[in-house]
């Protein structure tokens, strides 16, 4: 055997040995199973990729991810589910999808699995269980494990608020100190105060709020005002009876207040803004206040230009009452998946206490009581306390199978009134009741 042949054998032997060692240490290669998790493309998704490496290391099951930007998220994944596609083994689907996905057999019912594995829904925050997991609501039928708690909150420029000249001007104008707003009226005053003001030689504006028309933006924004002024989706004692609840005098006031804020205090060209536009406006130093989901707050806190000491966080202020729009999602197993066993294994692993702690540490929002009720939680991040407060007062949009139609109707009515100046708030909400009644009638609901 010549030298070159010896070298070849040596290299081959080394390669085989490396493969054997690799196989021993990374069971994924041995098992060869990979599952796909579908979600939106945003900061928490990156945290989940990081977190999931532990799952692969523990079980040997590889993870693939299909992340879609928010603007296409619902279109893309609802199409996938409706066409019975098997792209996603696991899906972190929006809270409003749960009714449709459960009734159309797109999600695997998890009751038996939870029972077998000892996973109890009592271990999760009640609002997240109702919002992300149950269908019908408030019944013990579970279709998802609460995965990513979220709600709409606010950020503000703490550094601008702290400036003596700004504080002095504000006090002179409003007769009170410039501080985090406790009511929506105070919030409007602050936004109005900053609108068009010069800070460091640059013109700034009051607030960035949701006004997007195409998907769900303006509904997710206006809800925070409607809920605070007493809007209810239906008569609590008579399901689907909406007259006097959706279009109550309070709800009309809430809608008018939202329009007032949009007209007085948003940057020019903010007629179609949602999450990313809000982030852009805040990060570029254009606005003093920003309405956005808590999910973005860890990223904003780390931002080199507006994060750290420059940013503050607060939950949705009150009006006649105090509530906020629920965001967030549960994780479900897709019933068309060919890897349901592995997908369930992931859910079992994800429900673990240590995993939930790490999930929060990495930038995801755990819904587990073990994390949220930990005494150290409120101080674990600058936004943690406000998040906890918000999760105690969340309200969600309809989660009916016809939610998309209901959402479209509200998008149109509200955008027509707030942005396009069509009609009055009362007409917009009366019209909304009419639209929603027609949709429920088509669905065969009695009211």
């Amino acid at each position: 055997m010549n030298n070159s042949m010896k070298a070849l054998f040596a290299a081959g032997g080394a390669l085989a040995a490396a493969l054997c060692i690799g196989a021993a240490t990374t069971p994924a290669q041995a098992q060869g199973k990979t599952i796909t998790l579908c979600w939106a493309a945003w900061d928490p998704a990156n945290a989940l990729v990081e977190l999931s490496k532990d799952f692969t290391a523990k079980t040997g099951i590889g993870m693939k991810f299909e992340f879609v930007p928010w603007t296409n998220y619902a279109d893309r994944f609802l199409n996938e589910l409706n066409s019975r596609g098997s792209l996603c083994d696991l899906i972190i689907g929006d809270s409003q999808w749960i009714g449709g996905a459960a009734e159309n057999g797109q999600y695997v019912k998890l009751n038996d699995f939870f029972k077998k594995e000892g996973i109890s829904m009592d271990d999760y925050m009640p609002a997240t269980v109702v919002g992300y997991s149950q269908w019908p609501k408030n019944t013990p039928n579970y279709w998802a494990l609460p995965a990513m708690g979220d709600a709409v909150g606010w950020t503000y420029r703490k550094d601008w608020f702290a400036r003596p000249d700004v504080q002095k001007d504000f006090k002179a104008k409003y007769g009170r100190d410039l501080a985090v707003p406790k009511t929506l009226d105070e919030l409007r005053d602050i936004a109005q105060f900053f609108q068009g003001r010069e800070i460091d030689g640059k013109k700034v504006y009051g607030a960035s709020i949701y006004t997007e028309r195409g998907s769900e933006g303006i509904t997710m924004g206006v809800s925070n005002y409607l809920y605070d002024y007493g809007f209810k989706y239906q008569d609590p004692s008579k399901p689907y009876a909406m007259d006097g609840f959706v279009n109550s005098a309070g709800a009309v006031k809430g809608l008018e207040a939202y329009k007032e804020l949009y007209k007085c205090c948003t940057p020019p060209g903010a007629s179609n803004s949602y999450m990313s536009e809000g982030l852009d406006a805040f990060k570029s130093g254009q606005v003093a206040l920003q309405m956005n989901f808590f999910a973005f707050f860890p990223g904003l806190y780390k931002d080199p230009n507006v994060g750290g000491d420059k940013i503050g966080f607060f939950s949705n202020p009150a009006a006649t009452t105090q509530a906020t729009q629920l965001g967030g999602q549960g994780i479900s197993v897709v019933s068309y998946s060919k890897n349901q066993g592995e997908a369930l294994q992931y859910i079992k692993w994800f429900a673990g206490g240590d995993v939930q702690k790490k999930w929060w540490a990495l930038g995801g929002y755990s819904c587990a009581k073990s994390v949220l009720n930990d005494p150290s939680f409120p101080d674990s991040a600058p936004f943690a306390k406000e998040f906890l407060k918000s999760m105690g007062m969340v309200v969600d949009f309809w989660a009916e199978p016809s939610y998309a139609q209901l959402l479209q109707a509200e998008q149109k009515r509200v955008h027509d009134y707030v942005v396009a100046d069509k009609g009055t708030a009362q007409e917009a909400l009366d019209g909304l009741v009419k639209d929603w009644k027609a949709i429920f009638k088509e669905e065969g609901k009695k009211f």
Partner: protein, 319 residues
């Protein structure tokens, strides 16, 4: 080389044909052979065009929803057609579409023909100018939609700055995409910017097809340039212009992507063209039966208008 040797070559070169089959193929008539060749195409057309159309017509009479395929399908007759044709929101969407189609076609035709007329003259660098003018139509509508969103941005958008420079108004004092009055024109401007070159190309083909000797004869007859334009250029280019109008009219009637990216149909429903309404009904609300009926109404409208127009076009061509 005779036929026999040719078939032997085939036998050697590829999969050997059985002698019986060779005889049968050779025995086919021209008509049968023609059918043999066009059958795959016909089958394909039936599968991807005719079947979906027939299926859509069927669905338009039912309450079918694609996201609830297990639910029983109920026959509704012409209920959806009645609902759609009496829905004020649908008529509003049709008006928005008509405004968009009319103005884009008018602007693109006038500018496109004007540009073609200029480019047709030989001048220094005319090839380079042609390429530059054609650039917008080579871009994807998604790219165009996105970058015009930036151009229209009131604080940093170039469009607002140019208007501000010309009119003396403040750049951030108006919103092209957020204003009810301006947004229908904002989408017209973008479409005209993108597709005028396309109309120009078609018109240019028309202008270049006019033989020089006709102009030479007109020169001999001392016809003025203005007279030449009205009596030779325009009538002879008219079939091409009409063709461009037809293409742009049909395209813009079903416009979706660019408008969706620019405004999402907003503010309110100010720029909600029919295709956006249709997409929302079909793929967001999943009202498949309803949206099938709407699609059929749109199809019949476009098909009917296009047919009337093509007849007019043929009359012009035959003159």
């Amino acid at each position: 080389m005779n036929d026999l040797s040719a078939s032997s070559r085939i036998t050697y070169g590829a999969v050997p044909l059985q002698p019986g089959l060779v005889r049968r193929v050779r025995g086919l008539s021209d008509k049968a052979l023609a059918w043999l060749f066009i059958t795959p195409t016909i089958v394909l057309l039936l599968a991807i065009n005719i079947f979906p159309l027939v299926w859509t017509i069927y669905l338009s009479f039912t309450n079918y929803r694609a996201n609830r395929s297990n639910a029983p399908v109920k026959w509704l007759g012409i209920d959806w057609y009645q609902t759609i044709l009496t829905d004020p929101d649908i008529w509003a969407a049709m008006q928005v579409t008509a405004h968009f189609v009319f103005w884009t076609v008018v602007i693109e035709t006038v500018l496109g023909f004007g540009l073609a007329f200029l480019i047709d003259k030989k001048f220094r660098g005319h090839g380079m100018w042609t390429t530059i003018i054609l650039l917008p139509m080579m871009l994807s509508p998604a790219v165009v939609g996105n970058f015009w969103t930036f151009l229209y941005q009131p604080q940093i958008g170039l469009f607002n700055y140019v208007v501000a420079f010309v009119t003396g108004r403040s750049a951030s004092s108006f919103q092209m995409l957020g204003d009810v009055t301006l947004s229908p024109w904002a989408i017209v401007i973008v479409d005209a910017w993108m597709w005028t070159p396309y109309v120009m190309l078609i018109c240019l083909a028309g202008l270049r097809s006019i033989p020089d000797y006709i102009y030479e004869a007109a020169e001999v007859d001392r016809a003025s340039k203005w007279r030449q334009f009205w009596s030779i250029t325009l009538p002879m280019a008219l079939p091409f212009i009409m063709l461009a109008v037809l293409f742009r009219g049909i395209e813009n009637f079903k416009m979706f992507d660019m408008v969706n990216l620019l405004t999402g149909g907003g503010p309110g429903s100010t720029t909600e063209v029919a295709s956006i309404t249709l997409k929302r009904a079909a793929f967001e609300s999943w009202r498949t039966g309803y949206s099938s009926a709407f699609a059929i109404i749109l199809f019949v409208t476009v098909f009917g208008l296009a047919n009337i127009y093509v007849k007019a076009l043929n009359r012009v061509k035959s003159r």
